[in-house]
Amino acid sequence: MIRNIVTLTLNDLAIAFKNKTIYLILFIPLFVFLSLQFVDQKNEKLQTIQIGLIEHVEYSPVIIESLKAADKLFVISWLATEEEGRRWLKEKKIDGFLLKSEKEPHSLELLVLEKASFRTIAIVEGFSALQIAVEGKSKNWLADIRSLRDSGIQRQTLPTWILMLVLLVGFIVIPAQIAEEKEKKLLLGLLQTPVRECEWLLAKLFLGMILIHLAVIFLHLLGKFEIEDSLSYFAFIGVGSFCFSSFGIFLGFLCRTQASARTLGVLFYLPLLLPSALSDFSQKLHSFAPVLPSYQFYGPIKAILLEGGGISTFPLEWIYLCSVGLITSLFSYLLLKKRWLM
Protein backbone atom coordinates (compact mmCIF):
# COMPACT_ATOMS: atom_id res chain seq x y z
CA MET A 1 0.00 0.00 0.00
CA ILE A 2 2.74 2.46 1.03
CA ARG A 3 4.72 1.50 -2.06
CA ASN A 4 1.76 2.38 -4.30
CA ILE A 5 1.11 5.65 -2.51
CA VAL A 6 4.79 6.64 -2.86
CA THR A 7 4.80 5.65 -6.55
CA LEU A 8 1.61 7.62 -7.21
CA THR A 9 2.78 10.65 -5.24
CA LEU A 10 6.09 10.74 -7.14
CA ASN A 11 4.16 10.37 -10.38
CA ASP A 12 1.88 13.26 -9.35
CA LEU A 13 4.87 15.45 -8.51
CA ALA A 14 6.42 14.64 -11.87
CA ILE A 15 3.12 15.60 -13.54
CA ALA A 16 3.03 18.85 -11.56
CA PHE A 17 6.51 19.61 -12.88
CA LYS A 18 5.67 18.65 -16.45
CA ASN A 19 2.39 20.57 -16.71
CA LYS A 20 4.06 23.75 -15.37
CA THR A 21 2.18 23.72 -12.06
CA ILE A 22 5.48 23.89 -10.24
CA TYR A 23 6.31 27.16 -12.03
CA LEU A 24 3.08 28.60 -10.71
CA ILE A 25 4.11 27.52 -7.23
CA LEU A 26 7.41 29.38 -7.59
CA PHE A 27 5.90 32.37 -9.38
CA ILE A 28 3.22 33.18 -6.81
CA PRO A 29 5.58 33.61 -3.81
CA LEU A 30 7.83 35.73 -6.04
CA PHE A 31 4.82 37.81 -7.07
CA VAL A 32 3.81 38.16 -3.42
CA PHE A 33 7.33 39.16 -2.44
CA LEU A 34 7.42 41.87 -5.09
CA SER A 35 3.93 43.06 -4.16
CA LEU A 36 4.99 43.40 -0.55
CA GLN A 37 7.55 45.99 -1.62
CA PHE A 38 4.73 48.28 -2.68
CA VAL A 39 2.48 47.79 0.35
CA ASP A 40 3.84 50.87 2.16
CA GLN A 41 2.85 53.12 -0.70
CA LYS A 42 -0.86 52.57 -0.15
CA ASN A 43 -3.01 55.42 1.13
CA GLU A 44 -6.15 55.49 3.16
CA LYS A 45 -8.96 58.01 3.39
CA LEU A 46 -9.89 59.56 6.72
CA GLN A 47 -13.03 57.95 8.10
CA THR A 48 -15.04 58.12 11.29
CA ILE A 49 -12.89 56.88 14.16
CA GLN A 50 -14.30 54.46 16.71
CA ILE A 51 -12.55 55.46 19.91
CA GLY A 52 -12.90 53.58 23.20
CA LEU A 53 -12.94 55.11 26.69
CA ILE A 54 -12.64 53.11 29.91
CA GLU A 55 -15.48 53.76 32.36
CA HIS A 56 -13.40 53.95 35.56
CA VAL A 57 -10.63 56.14 34.12
CA GLU A 58 -10.85 59.84 34.97
CA TYR A 59 -10.40 61.64 31.68
CA SER A 60 -10.08 65.40 31.40
CA PRO A 61 -13.63 66.85 30.94
CA VAL A 62 -12.29 69.07 28.13
CA ILE A 63 -11.15 66.05 26.15
CA ILE A 64 -14.43 64.18 26.73
CA GLU A 65 -16.53 67.17 25.69
CA SER A 66 -14.33 67.79 22.65
CA LEU A 67 -14.64 64.19 21.52
CA LYS A 68 -18.41 64.26 21.99
CA ALA A 69 -18.65 67.51 20.05
CA ALA A 70 -16.61 66.14 17.15
CA ASP A 71 -19.17 63.41 16.50
CA LYS A 72 -18.52 63.37 12.76
CA LEU A 73 -14.91 62.43 13.37
CA PHE A 74 -15.06 60.38 16.60
CA VAL A 75 -17.62 57.85 17.80
CA ILE A 76 -17.15 57.04 21.49
CA SER A 77 -17.61 53.54 22.90
CA TRP A 78 -17.56 53.11 26.68
CA LEU A 79 -15.66 50.06 27.85
CA ALA A 80 -15.86 48.37 31.27
CA THR A 81 -12.19 47.44 31.53
CA GLU A 82 -8.90 47.69 29.71
CA GLU A 83 -9.21 43.95 28.93
CA GLU A 84 -12.52 44.59 27.18
CA GLY A 85 -10.82 47.36 25.25
CA ARG A 86 -8.12 44.98 24.06
CA ARG A 87 -10.73 42.43 23.05
CA TRP A 88 -12.76 45.02 21.12
CA LEU A 89 -9.59 46.21 19.48
CA LYS A 90 -8.75 42.68 18.29
CA GLU A 91 -12.33 42.23 17.09
CA LYS A 92 -12.08 45.54 15.17
CA LYS A 93 -15.05 47.00 17.03
CA ILE A 94 -12.94 50.05 17.90
CA ASP A 95 -9.91 51.64 16.23
CA GLY A 96 -8.19 52.44 19.50
CA PHE A 97 -8.85 53.28 23.15
CA LEU A 98 -7.53 55.83 25.58
CA LEU A 99 -5.84 55.25 28.92
CA LYS A 100 -4.32 57.61 31.47
CA SER A 101 -0.66 58.08 30.65
CA GLU A 102 1.66 56.69 33.29
CA LYS A 103 4.45 59.05 32.24
CA GLU A 104 2.43 62.29 32.13
CA PRO A 105 -0.61 62.40 34.44
CA HIS A 106 -2.47 65.08 32.46
CA SER A 107 -2.05 63.33 29.11
CA LEU A 108 -3.44 60.19 27.57
CA GLU A 109 -2.05 57.00 26.15
CA LEU A 110 -3.51 55.60 22.95
CA LEU A 111 -3.68 51.84 22.49
CA VAL A 112 -4.11 50.67 18.89
CA LEU A 113 -3.92 47.35 17.06
CA GLU A 114 -1.00 48.34 14.85
CA LYS A 115 1.24 51.33 15.45
CA ALA A 116 2.48 51.55 11.88
CA SER A 117 -0.88 51.85 10.20
CA PHE A 118 -2.74 54.59 8.42
CA ARG A 119 -5.61 54.12 10.87
CA THR A 120 -3.36 55.13 13.77
CA ILE A 121 -2.11 58.13 11.85
CA ALA A 122 -5.73 59.10 11.23
CA ILE A 123 -6.46 58.95 14.99
CA VAL A 124 -3.41 61.06 15.87
CA GLU A 125 -4.21 63.61 13.15
CA GLY A 126 -7.82 63.76 14.36
CA PHE A 127 -6.74 64.35 17.96
CA SER A 128 -4.24 66.97 16.91
CA ALA A 129 -6.82 68.85 14.84
CA LEU A 130 -9.33 68.65 17.69
CA GLN A 131 -6.79 69.91 20.23
CA ILE A 132 -5.82 72.87 18.07
CA ALA A 133 -9.48 73.75 17.56
CA VAL A 134 -10.25 73.60 21.29
CA GLU A 135 -7.09 74.85 23.03
CA GLY A 136 -4.83 76.21 20.35
CA LYS A 137 -1.37 74.74 20.18
CA SER A 138 -0.48 73.49 23.66
CA LYS A 139 0.83 70.33 25.23
CA ASN A 140 -0.21 67.14 23.38
CA TRP A 141 -3.25 65.28 24.68
CA LEU A 142 -1.63 62.07 23.52
CA ALA A 143 1.61 61.40 25.35
CA ASP A 144 2.22 57.89 24.05
CA ILE A 145 0.97 55.32 21.54
CA ARG A 146 1.12 51.61 22.21
CA SER A 147 0.10 48.75 19.92
CA LEU A 148 -1.10 45.20 20.38
CA ARG A 149 0.93 44.07 17.38
CA ASP A 150 4.47 45.27 17.04
CA SER A 151 5.46 44.11 13.57
CA GLY A 152 6.01 45.78 10.21
CA ILE A 153 3.48 46.12 7.42
CA GLN A 154 5.15 43.37 5.40
CA ARG A 155 4.76 40.88 8.21
CA GLN A 156 1.22 42.02 8.95
CA THR A 157 0.14 41.20 5.40
CA LEU A 158 1.92 37.84 5.45
CA PRO A 159 -1.13 35.83 6.70
CA THR A 160 -3.12 37.10 3.72
CA TRP A 161 -0.45 35.93 1.28
CA ILE A 162 -0.21 32.57 3.02
CA LEU A 163 -3.99 32.19 2.76
CA MET A 164 -3.80 33.13 -0.91
CA LEU A 165 -1.14 30.48 -1.60
CA VAL A 166 -3.04 27.75 0.22
CA LEU A 167 -6.31 28.56 -1.55
CA LEU A 168 -4.56 28.86 -4.91
CA VAL A 169 -3.23 25.31 -4.70
CA GLY A 170 -6.47 24.02 -3.20
CA PHE A 171 -8.94 25.64 -5.57
CA ILE A 172 -7.02 26.27 -8.79
CA VAL A 173 -4.18 23.75 -9.10
CA ILE A 174 -5.71 20.59 -7.60
CA PRO A 175 -9.18 20.67 -9.26
CA ALA A 176 -7.56 21.28 -12.66
CA GLN A 177 -5.22 18.33 -12.21
CA ILE A 178 -8.04 16.02 -11.10
CA ALA A 179 -10.18 17.13 -14.03
CA GLU A 180 -7.27 16.60 -16.43
CA GLU A 181 -6.84 13.03 -15.21
CA LYS A 182 -10.54 12.45 -15.67
CA GLU A 183 -10.69 14.18 -19.05
CA LYS A 184 -7.76 12.20 -20.49
CA LYS A 185 -9.00 8.97 -18.85
CA LEU A 186 -5.69 8.71 -16.99
CA LEU A 187 -7.47 8.08 -13.72
CA LEU A 188 -9.47 5.23 -15.25
CA GLY A 189 -6.21 3.86 -16.61
CA LEU A 190 -4.68 3.91 -13.13
CA LEU A 191 -7.76 2.20 -11.76
CA GLN A 192 -7.03 -0.67 -14.15
CA THR A 193 -3.99 -1.42 -12.03
CA PRO A 194 -3.95 -2.82 -8.48
CA VAL A 195 -4.32 0.67 -7.01
CA ARG A 196 -7.03 1.17 -4.41
CA GLU A 197 -9.24 4.22 -4.74
CA CYS A 198 -8.09 5.40 -1.29
CA GLU A 199 -4.43 5.11 -2.36
CA TRP A 200 -5.06 7.33 -5.36
CA LEU A 201 -6.94 9.79 -3.17
CA LEU A 202 -4.15 9.88 -0.56
CA ALA A 203 -1.55 10.46 -3.28
CA LYS A 204 -3.55 13.45 -4.49
CA LEU A 205 -3.88 14.78 -0.95
CA PHE A 206 -0.12 14.46 -0.47
CA LEU A 207 0.46 16.25 -3.75
CA GLY A 208 -1.63 19.22 -2.58
CA MET A 209 0.00 19.28 0.85
CA ILE A 210 3.53 19.07 -0.58
CA LEU A 211 2.85 21.88 -3.07
CA ILE A 212 1.38 24.10 -0.33
CA HIS A 213 4.29 23.47 2.04
CA LEU A 214 6.79 24.16 -0.77
CA ALA A 215 5.08 27.44 -1.63
CA VAL A 216 4.91 28.58 2.01
CA ILE A 217 8.54 27.67 2.73
CA PHE A 218 9.69 29.38 -0.47
CA LEU A 219 7.80 32.55 0.52
CA HIS A 220 9.39 32.51 3.98
CA LEU A 221 12.84 32.02 2.50
CA LEU A 222 12.36 34.85 0.02
CA GLY A 223 10.96 37.30 2.54
CA LYS A 224 13.19 36.10 5.43
CA PHE A 225 10.10 35.94 7.63
CA GLU A 226 10.87 34.32 10.94
CA ILE A 227 8.39 32.13 12.82
CA GLU A 228 8.37 32.13 16.62
CA ASP A 229 6.21 29.07 17.20
CA SER A 230 7.01 27.00 14.13
CA LEU A 231 5.32 23.88 15.56
CA SER A 232 1.96 25.65 15.88
CA TYR A 233 2.49 27.38 12.57
CA PHE A 234 3.15 24.21 10.61
CA ALA A 235 0.41 22.39 12.49
CA PHE A 236 -2.00 24.90 10.95
CA ILE A 237 -0.28 24.95 7.56
CA GLY A 238 -0.54 21.13 7.63
CA VAL A 239 -4.19 20.98 8.56
CA GLY A 240 -5.01 23.87 6.21
CA SER A 241 -3.23 22.17 3.32
CA PHE A 242 -5.12 18.95 4.10
CA CYS A 243 -8.46 20.74 4.29
CA PHE A 244 -8.11 22.78 1.11
CA SER A 245 -6.37 20.02 -0.91
CA SER A 246 -9.25 17.72 -0.02
CA PHE A 247 -11.78 20.44 -0.89
CA GLY A 248 -9.97 20.94 -4.21
CA ILE A 249 -10.06 17.22 -5.01
CA PHE A 250 -13.78 17.24 -4.33
CA LEU A 251 -14.25 20.21 -6.69
CA GLY A 252 -12.21 18.38 -9.32
CA PHE A 253 -14.61 15.45 -9.10
CA LEU A 254 -17.54 17.75 -9.78
CA CYS A 255 -16.05 18.70 -13.15
CA ARG A 256 -15.63 16.76 -16.37
CA THR A 257 -13.02 19.03 -17.95
CA GLN A 258 -10.04 21.11 -16.90
CA ALA A 259 -11.70 24.28 -18.09
CA SER A 260 -14.74 23.77 -15.90
CA ALA A 261 -12.49 22.85 -12.97
CA ARG A 262 -10.60 26.12 -13.32
CA THR A 263 -13.84 28.07 -13.45
CA LEU A 264 -15.28 26.28 -10.44
CA GLY A 265 -11.97 26.72 -8.63
CA VAL A 266 -12.00 30.48 -9.13
CA LEU A 267 -15.64 30.59 -8.06
CA PHE A 268 -14.61 29.10 -4.72
CA TYR A 269 -11.20 30.75 -4.53
CA LEU A 270 -12.28 34.38 -4.49
CA PRO A 271 -15.26 34.12 -2.10
CA LEU A 272 -13.13 32.19 0.34
CA LEU A 273 -10.09 34.45 -0.02
CA LEU A 274 -11.53 37.95 0.00
CA PRO A 275 -13.87 37.95 3.04
CA SER A 276 -11.19 36.37 5.20
CA ALA A 277 -8.33 38.52 3.94
CA LEU A 278 -10.40 41.71 4.16
CA SER A 279 -11.97 40.92 7.52
CA ASP A 280 -9.38 43.21 9.14
CA PHE A 281 -10.81 46.16 7.30
CA SER A 282 -14.52 45.67 7.71
CA GLN A 283 -16.72 45.08 10.73
CA LYS A 284 -19.31 43.31 8.56
CA LEU A 285 -16.81 40.97 6.98
CA HIS A 286 -15.30 40.34 10.39
CA SER A 287 -18.61 39.07 11.70
CA PHE A 288 -19.40 37.00 8.57
CA ALA A 289 -15.97 35.52 7.81
CA PRO A 290 -15.79 32.99 10.72
CA VAL A 291 -18.30 30.70 9.00
CA LEU A 292 -15.78 30.18 6.18
CA PRO A 293 -13.09 27.49 6.48
CA SER A 294 -10.63 29.98 5.02
CA TYR A 295 -11.12 32.25 8.04
CA GLN A 296 -10.67 29.33 10.43
CA PHE A 297 -7.25 28.95 8.80
CA TYR A 298 -6.47 32.65 8.39
CA GLY A 299 -7.35 33.67 11.97
CA PRO A 300 -4.97 31.26 13.73
CA ILE A 301 -2.19 31.82 11.18
CA LYS A 302 -2.49 35.58 11.76
CA ALA A 303 -2.49 35.13 15.52
CA ILE A 304 0.52 32.78 15.43
CA LEU A 305 2.52 35.06 13.14
CA LEU A 306 1.57 38.42 14.61
CA GLU A 307 0.25 38.03 18.14
CA GLY A 308 2.33 35.16 19.50
CA GLY A 309 -0.60 32.73 19.57
CA GLY A 310 -0.20 28.95 19.59
CA ILE A 311 -2.13 25.89 18.52
CA SER A 312 -3.46 25.45 22.07
CA THR A 313 -5.43 28.70 21.62
CA PHE A 314 -7.20 27.41 18.51
CA PRO A 315 -8.20 23.77 19.00
CA LEU A 316 -11.69 24.33 17.58
CA GLU A 317 -10.34 25.93 14.42
CA TRP A 318 -7.92 23.00 13.97
CA ILE A 319 -10.74 20.49 14.45
CA TYR A 320 -13.00 22.48 12.09
CA LEU A 321 -10.40 22.38 9.29
CA CYS A 322 -9.71 18.70 9.92
CA SER A 323 -13.44 17.94 9.76
CA VAL A 324 -13.94 19.84 6.50
CA GLY A 325 -10.98 17.93 5.05
CA LEU A 326 -12.32 14.57 6.17
CA ILE A 327 -15.88 15.25 4.96
CA THR A 328 -14.74 16.41 1.51
CA SER A 329 -12.36 13.43 1.29
CA LEU A 330 -15.26 11.11 2.03
CA PHE A 331 -17.39 12.74 -0.68
CA SER A 332 -14.48 12.49 -3.15
CA TYR A 333 -14.08 8.81 -2.31
CA LEU A 334 -17.77 8.15 -2.95
CA LEU A 335 -17.65 10.03 -6.26
CA LEU A 336 -14.53 8.10 -7.26
CA LYS A 337 -16.22 4.80 -6.43
CA LYS A 338 -19.17 5.82 -8.61
CA ARG A 339 -16.78 6.88 -11.43
CA TRP A 340 -18.53 10.26 -11.31
CA LEU A 341 -18.35 12.21 -14.63
CA MET A 342 -15.57 9.96 -15.94
Binding site: T7, L191, R339
Partner: protein, 226 residues
Amino acid sequence: MLIEVQKLAKVYNGTRGLLPASFGVEQGELIAVVGHNGAGKSTLLKMLASWIIPDSGEVLVDGINLKNRMALVRKIGFVPETPNLFDFFSVEYNFKLFARLFQIPFSRIEEILKEFNLLTYRHNKVQVLSKGLKQRVSIGRTLLADPPVLLFDEPTSGLDFEMTKEVYRLLKSTHASGKTILFTSHRPEEIKTLATRIMLLHQGSLVFDGPPQEYFQSKIYENLYA
Protein backbone atom coordinates in the same frame (compact mmCIF):
# COMPACT_ATOMS: atom_id res chain seq x y z
CA MET B 1 -16.34 -20.72 -19.11
CA LEU B 2 -13.76 -17.92 -18.70
CA ILE B 3 -16.27 -15.07 -18.63
CA GLU B 4 -19.86 -15.42 -17.45
CA VAL B 5 -22.16 -12.43 -17.90
CA GLN B 6 -25.62 -12.49 -16.33
CA LYS B 7 -28.21 -9.77 -17.07
CA LEU B 8 -25.60 -7.03 -17.22
CA ALA B 9 -27.28 -3.66 -17.74
CA LYS B 10 -26.53 0.05 -17.83
CA VAL B 11 -28.96 2.79 -18.79
CA TYR B 12 -28.05 6.40 -19.50
CA ASN B 13 -30.77 9.02 -19.27
CA GLY B 14 -33.53 6.45 -19.49
CA THR B 15 -32.75 4.97 -22.92
CA ARG B 16 -29.16 4.58 -24.12
CA GLY B 17 -26.70 2.02 -22.81
CA LEU B 18 -26.97 -1.72 -22.52
CA LEU B 19 -30.19 -3.57 -21.76
CA PRO B 20 -29.83 -6.71 -19.65
CA ALA B 21 -27.44 -8.98 -21.57
CA SER B 22 -26.28 -12.50 -20.73
CA PHE B 23 -23.56 -14.51 -22.46
CA GLY B 24 -20.47 -16.59 -21.81
CA VAL B 25 -16.96 -16.53 -23.27
CA GLU B 26 -14.66 -19.53 -23.56
CA GLN B 27 -10.92 -19.25 -23.21
CA GLY B 28 -9.12 -18.45 -26.48
CA GLU B 29 -12.08 -16.90 -28.28
CA LEU B 30 -11.64 -13.78 -30.41
CA ILE B 31 -14.97 -12.01 -30.32
CA ALA B 32 -16.02 -9.03 -32.38
CA VAL B 33 -18.70 -6.94 -30.68
CA VAL B 34 -20.46 -5.10 -33.49
CA GLY B 35 -23.37 -2.72 -33.89
CA HIS B 36 -24.26 0.82 -34.84
CA ASN B 37 -23.07 3.84 -32.87
CA GLY B 38 -24.83 3.92 -29.51
CA ALA B 39 -25.70 0.22 -29.68
CA GLY B 40 -23.91 -0.39 -26.35
CA LYS B 41 -20.62 -1.94 -27.58
CA SER B 42 -18.28 0.39 -25.71
CA THR B 43 -20.57 0.38 -22.67
CA LEU B 44 -20.30 -3.42 -22.52
CA LEU B 45 -16.50 -3.39 -22.73
CA LYS B 46 -16.16 -0.50 -20.29
CA MET B 47 -18.33 -2.30 -17.76
CA LEU B 48 -16.16 -5.41 -18.06
CA ALA B 49 -13.11 -3.16 -17.52
CA SER B 50 -14.66 -1.43 -14.46
CA TRP B 51 -14.64 1.91 -16.27
CA ILE B 52 -18.41 2.10 -15.89
CA ILE B 53 -20.29 0.76 -12.88
CA PRO B 54 -23.23 -1.41 -14.09
CA ASP B 55 -26.76 -0.69 -12.89
CA SER B 56 -27.41 -4.41 -12.44
CA GLY B 57 -26.15 -7.86 -13.38
CA GLU B 58 -23.34 -10.20 -12.50
CA VAL B 59 -20.00 -10.83 -14.20
CA LEU B 60 -17.52 -13.54 -13.30
CA VAL B 61 -14.10 -13.61 -14.92
CA ASP B 62 -12.21 -16.80 -14.17
CA GLY B 63 -14.41 -17.08 -11.08
CA ILE B 64 -13.70 -13.51 -9.93
CA ASN B 65 -16.63 -11.16 -9.49
CA LEU B 66 -16.60 -7.84 -11.33
CA LYS B 67 -16.95 -6.04 -7.99
CA ASN B 68 -13.56 -7.39 -6.90
CA ARG B 69 -11.63 -4.85 -8.98
CA MET B 70 -8.28 -5.39 -7.24
CA ALA B 71 -8.24 -9.05 -8.35
CA LEU B 72 -9.94 -8.46 -11.68
CA VAL B 73 -7.33 -5.98 -12.97
CA ARG B 74 -4.90 -8.89 -13.26
CA LYS B 75 -7.41 -10.85 -15.33
CA ILE B 76 -8.69 -8.16 -17.72
CA GLY B 77 -6.75 -5.63 -19.75
CA PHE B 78 -8.59 -2.84 -21.56
CA VAL B 79 -7.29 -0.82 -24.52
CA PRO B 80 -9.55 2.21 -25.02
CA GLU B 81 -10.29 3.78 -28.39
CA THR B 82 -8.18 6.84 -27.52
CA PRO B 83 -4.93 5.83 -25.80
CA ASN B 84 -4.99 7.06 -22.20
CA LEU B 85 -1.26 7.48 -21.74
CA PHE B 86 0.67 10.07 -19.74
CA ASP B 87 1.61 11.81 -22.96
CA PHE B 88 4.06 14.34 -21.50
CA PHE B 89 6.26 11.43 -20.41
CA SER B 90 8.28 8.96 -22.43
CA VAL B 91 7.09 5.55 -23.59
CA GLU B 92 9.43 3.95 -21.07
CA TYR B 93 8.10 6.08 -18.19
CA ASN B 94 4.54 4.98 -19.01
CA PHE B 95 5.61 1.35 -18.98
CA LYS B 96 7.63 1.74 -15.78
CA LEU B 97 4.75 3.41 -13.94
CA PHE B 98 2.41 0.53 -14.71
CA ALA B 99 5.13 -2.05 -14.04
CA ARG B 100 5.64 -0.52 -10.58
CA LEU B 101 1.93 -0.52 -9.82
CA PHE B 102 1.57 -4.13 -10.99
CA GLN B 103 4.88 -4.98 -9.30
CA ILE B 104 6.22 -6.49 -12.51
CA PRO B 105 10.00 -6.73 -13.08
CA PHE B 106 11.36 -4.16 -15.55
CA SER B 107 12.74 -6.98 -17.70
CA ARG B 108 9.14 -7.49 -18.87
CA ILE B 109 9.23 -3.94 -20.29
CA GLU B 110 12.18 -4.91 -22.50
CA GLU B 111 10.23 -7.90 -23.80
CA ILE B 112 7.20 -5.77 -24.65
CA LEU B 113 9.27 -3.00 -26.26
CA LYS B 114 10.94 -5.60 -28.46
CA GLU B 115 7.72 -7.46 -29.29
CA PHE B 116 5.92 -4.24 -30.26
CA ASN B 117 8.87 -2.72 -32.18
CA LEU B 118 9.01 0.19 -29.76
CA LEU B 119 12.70 0.04 -28.80
CA THR B 120 13.60 3.05 -30.94
CA TYR B 121 10.78 5.11 -29.40
CA ARG B 122 11.37 4.19 -25.76
CA HIS B 123 12.72 7.64 -24.81
CA ASN B 124 10.28 9.60 -26.98
CA LYS B 125 7.51 11.53 -25.30
CA VAL B 126 4.17 9.92 -26.08
CA GLN B 127 2.71 13.25 -27.23
CA VAL B 128 5.07 13.32 -30.24
CA LEU B 129 4.11 9.84 -31.44
CA SER B 130 1.61 9.13 -34.21
CA LYS B 131 -1.80 7.71 -33.29
CA GLY B 132 -0.76 4.29 -34.54
CA LEU B 133 2.34 4.27 -32.36
CA LYS B 134 0.35 5.49 -29.39
CA GLN B 135 -2.06 2.63 -29.96
CA ARG B 136 0.88 0.21 -30.00
CA VAL B 137 2.19 1.69 -26.74
CA SER B 138 -1.30 1.44 -25.25
CA ILE B 139 -1.64 -2.23 -26.23
CA GLY B 140 1.89 -2.95 -25.01
CA ARG B 141 1.23 -1.31 -21.66
CA THR B 142 -1.94 -3.39 -21.26
CA LEU B 143 -0.01 -6.58 -22.01
CA LEU B 144 2.65 -5.79 -19.38
CA ALA B 145 0.58 -7.51 -16.69
CA ASP B 146 -0.12 -10.42 -19.05
CA PRO B 147 -3.90 -10.58 -18.42
CA PRO B 148 -5.71 -13.63 -19.88
CA VAL B 149 -8.58 -11.46 -21.20
CA LEU B 150 -8.07 -8.42 -23.42
CA LEU B 151 -10.71 -5.86 -24.40
CA PHE B 152 -10.12 -3.55 -27.36
CA ASP B 153 -12.47 -0.65 -28.05
CA GLU B 154 -12.30 0.21 -31.78
CA PRO B 155 -8.59 -0.76 -31.99
CA THR B 156 -8.11 0.50 -35.57
CA SER B 157 -10.24 3.64 -35.36
CA GLY B 158 -8.51 6.55 -37.07
CA LEU B 159 -5.48 4.50 -38.15
CA ASP B 160 -4.06 4.42 -41.67
CA PHE B 161 -3.80 1.21 -43.71
CA GLU B 162 -0.29 0.31 -42.56
CA MET B 163 -1.01 0.89 -38.91
CA THR B 164 -4.30 -1.00 -39.19
CA LYS B 165 -2.39 -3.98 -40.59
CA GLU B 166 0.08 -3.69 -37.73
CA VAL B 167 -2.73 -3.74 -35.16
CA TYR B 168 -4.24 -6.81 -36.91
CA ARG B 169 -0.87 -8.51 -36.62
CA LEU B 170 -0.66 -7.67 -32.92
CA LEU B 171 -4.20 -8.89 -32.27
CA LYS B 172 -3.54 -12.15 -34.12
CA SER B 173 -0.23 -12.81 -32.37
CA THR B 174 -1.77 -11.96 -28.99
CA HIS B 175 -4.67 -14.30 -29.71
CA ALA B 176 -2.25 -16.99 -30.87
CA SER B 177 -0.49 -16.76 -27.51
CA GLY B 178 -3.69 -18.03 -25.88
CA LYS B 179 -5.40 -14.80 -24.87
CA THR B 180 -9.15 -14.31 -24.98
CA ILE B 181 -10.03 -11.14 -26.87
CA LEU B 182 -13.17 -9.05 -27.24
CA PHE B 183 -13.01 -6.08 -29.58
CA THR B 184 -15.56 -3.62 -30.91
CA SER B 185 -15.55 -2.74 -34.57
CA HIS B 186 -17.47 -1.11 -37.40
CA ARG B 187 -15.36 -2.63 -40.19
CA PRO B 188 -16.77 -5.79 -41.86
CA GLU B 189 -13.33 -6.75 -43.29
CA GLU B 190 -11.81 -6.46 -39.82
CA ILE B 191 -14.49 -8.71 -38.38
CA LYS B 192 -14.05 -11.25 -41.20
CA THR B 193 -10.26 -11.21 -40.85
CA LEU B 194 -10.05 -11.55 -37.09
CA ALA B 195 -13.15 -12.77 -35.33
CA THR B 196 -13.96 -16.34 -34.38
CA ARG B 197 -17.33 -15.24 -33.00
CA ILE B 198 -19.58 -12.22 -33.44
CA MET B 199 -21.89 -10.53 -30.98
CA LEU B 200 -24.26 -7.98 -32.53
CA LEU B 201 -25.75 -5.31 -30.33
CA HIS B 202 -28.69 -3.26 -31.52
CA GLN B 203 -30.16 -0.44 -29.43
CA GLY B 204 -28.66 -1.92 -26.31
CA SER B 205 -29.85 -5.50 -26.89
CA LEU B 206 -27.77 -8.52 -27.86
CA VAL B 207 -29.55 -9.60 -31.08
CA PHE B 208 -27.00 -12.02 -32.56
CA ASP B 209 -24.31 -14.24 -31.07
CA GLY B 210 -22.58 -16.78 -33.36
CA PRO B 211 -19.80 -17.55 -35.83
CA PRO B 212 -18.85 -15.01 -38.58
CA GLN B 213 -20.14 -17.16 -41.50
CA GLU B 214 -23.57 -17.40 -39.93
CA TYR B 215 -23.55 -13.67 -39.10
CA PHE B 216 -22.78 -12.48 -42.64
CA GLN B 217 -25.52 -14.73 -44.06
CA SER B 218 -28.12 -13.81 -41.45
CA LYS B 219 -31.25 -11.78 -42.08
CA ILE B 220 -30.41 -9.46 -39.25
CA TYR B 221 -27.09 -8.51 -40.90
CA GLU B 222 -28.94 -7.87 -44.17
CA ASN B 223 -31.56 -5.75 -42.46
CA LEU B 224 -29.08 -3.69 -40.49
CA TYR B 225 -26.18 -3.27 -42.91
CA ALA B 226 -26.86 -4.47 -46.41
